[in-house]
């Protein structure tokens, strides 16, 4: 598919350097799937859908900075949704979210709730103001909070809240890779799903730039079961734009 023209209808300031961009176009998505967002003349970057018509973005580099310059009525090009999303379990589920990792987990929580799942969310962020989508998670289940600076909830990392994983049928995790690796090491891998972030070029499963060993994040993922990741370079290193190994 060619990029679809998506006009920005609303911009919500979620926290410092985190914004949600709503579009006039909705996507039929499985939570966890991503879209390629083309900021014309600048770059195209992968983004998780945080609603069926929105992305939630942290300003981290040139492409996201250019996106932050856009306002209502401006437009971007969107390809997707691409990849494999979360496999939804309607039993007792635990969401483990770090920072903007909440973006794909919030629509997952809402969909799982609608399907009858009992949801607990471990929500982590650097500081209180960056606890993304707290209200959305609270609306569908129990929420436990951790902040790096102790401004809310447990003073420390969200992984420190992970103490009763055996009580859950399925665990869903998205956040910084180092945090996800900690979760993977603590839980039964086959009962946990992780949404990965990698440098993506084609988005079509062809070029191989996003591969974690032989797994294509853009096509076989971005959501993978923990037992698939156990045997890979996940949490050890990633590849930069050149394909060089970079330690996590």
């Amino acid at each position: 598919m060619r990029p679809v023209n998506a006009v920005i209808t609303k911009v919500v300031e979620e926290a410092t350097n985190i914004r949600t961009f709503f579009f006039d176009t909705s996507f039929e998505l499985i939570p966890g799937q991503f879209v390629m967002v083309w900021i014309r003349g600048v770059d195209e970057v992968p983004m998780a859908l945080s609603y069926d018509n929105a992305i939630t973005v942290q300003k981290v580099g040139p492409a996201t900075s250019a996106l932050f310059e856009l306002n209502e009525c401006d437009s971007v090009g969107i390809r997707g949704p691409f990849g494999k999303g979360f496999d939804i379990n309607n039993g007792r589920i635990l969401l483990v979210s770090g920072g903007v990792g909440a973006a794909p987990l919030a629509p997952l929580a809402e969909k799982a709730c609608a399907e009858g799942a009992k949801i607990t969310t471990l929500l982590g962020a650097k500081t209180k103001d960056e606890l993304l989508f707290r209200k959305r998670f609270e609306a569908v289940g129990k929420v436990r909070i951790a902040t790096d600076d102790g401004t809310e909830g447990k003073h420390g990392y969200v992984t420190q809240l992970l103490d009763d994983e055996k009580n859950y049928d399925q665990i869903y995790c998205c956040g910084p890779e180092i945090m996800m690796k900690k979760v993977l090491d603590k839980v039964t891998p086959s009962r946990a799903q992780f949404s990965l972030h990698r440098y993506i070029k084609c988005g079509l499963g062809i070029c191989g730039a996003c591969c974690v060993d032989g797994l294509r994040v853009c096509k076989d993922g971005p959501v993978f079961s923990g037992d698939v990741l156990k045997r890979t370079e996940f949490g050890v290193y990633r590849r930069n734009e050149c394909g060089e190994r970079v330690k996590i």
């Binding site: 014309r40 090009g77 070029k201 084609c202 079509l204 062809i206 070029c207 060993d213 032989g214």
Partner: protein
Amino acid sequence: MIGMLSLTLNGLKLKNPLILAAGIMGTTGGSLKRAAEGGAGAVVTKSIGIEPKSGHSNPSMVEVDCGYLNAMGLPNPSYKNFQREIDTAKEGGIPVIASIFGGSADEFSEIAGSLRADAFELNVSCPHACGYGAQVGSDPALVEEITRAVKSATSAPVWVKLTPNVTDINSIGLAAESGGADAVVAINTVRAMAIDIESGYPILGNRFGGLSGRAIKPVAIKCVYDLFEALEIPIIGVGGISDWRDAVEFMMAGARAVQIGSAVGDNINIFKDISSCMETFLEEKGWTLDDIYGMAHEV
């Protein structure tokens, strides 16, 4: 019959004539191994250069109605960081061919002289890299010089991948042959472009790129057919193969083996699928690989 698709090409033993094309799943040893598990007879790596290169900005690949348009821009970690990926790929148990690119004969030989691979494929055909690829490969004298230099830098077989974006592909193929190439690979992508009508922006970050996929198959078939008439060395056909019929057609045009690229995106086990269908076809026809090789030239 077991092994009816096996062949020896430049001394390399292939269990089938289906090779993963350059630039597809070729950056990590693990992804090349996965293509081996998917049934490939051999794999070609991503094109590797002298220095690490991040490539063009995105979008770098987009699906159009008749295939795919890409301008990756030769992203690669440099040969200095690539041997271990080749070594990992070798665990797949099939030949690993290193695709390499450079701006001069010296650069090509430096890389070929430093990497250990079962063969080298010289990328003198990428249509959108300034100073590299097709800018080198449109000049027969340069192609001959580079091929000769690489041949003296390595004892491994050397393949030269040709661009279709020239007036006469045979003259480039003949130059490669004169330079000592062991085979030519035809074709690389066809120069192409797409424009976003909502904004007027060219879609690719590089503004233009190369077309692959279904649309270019008839172009590639004709190139292979012409090269077969002109050259003594084997031709490896590539361009738009998405099923076993396409592979057979390339071989009838004169390809000893074929490479598969874009179609791997939707089916990484395509090599297995094509192999088994080709075997069935050959059995039904009572033909061997040798029978169909260049068949279109004999009828």
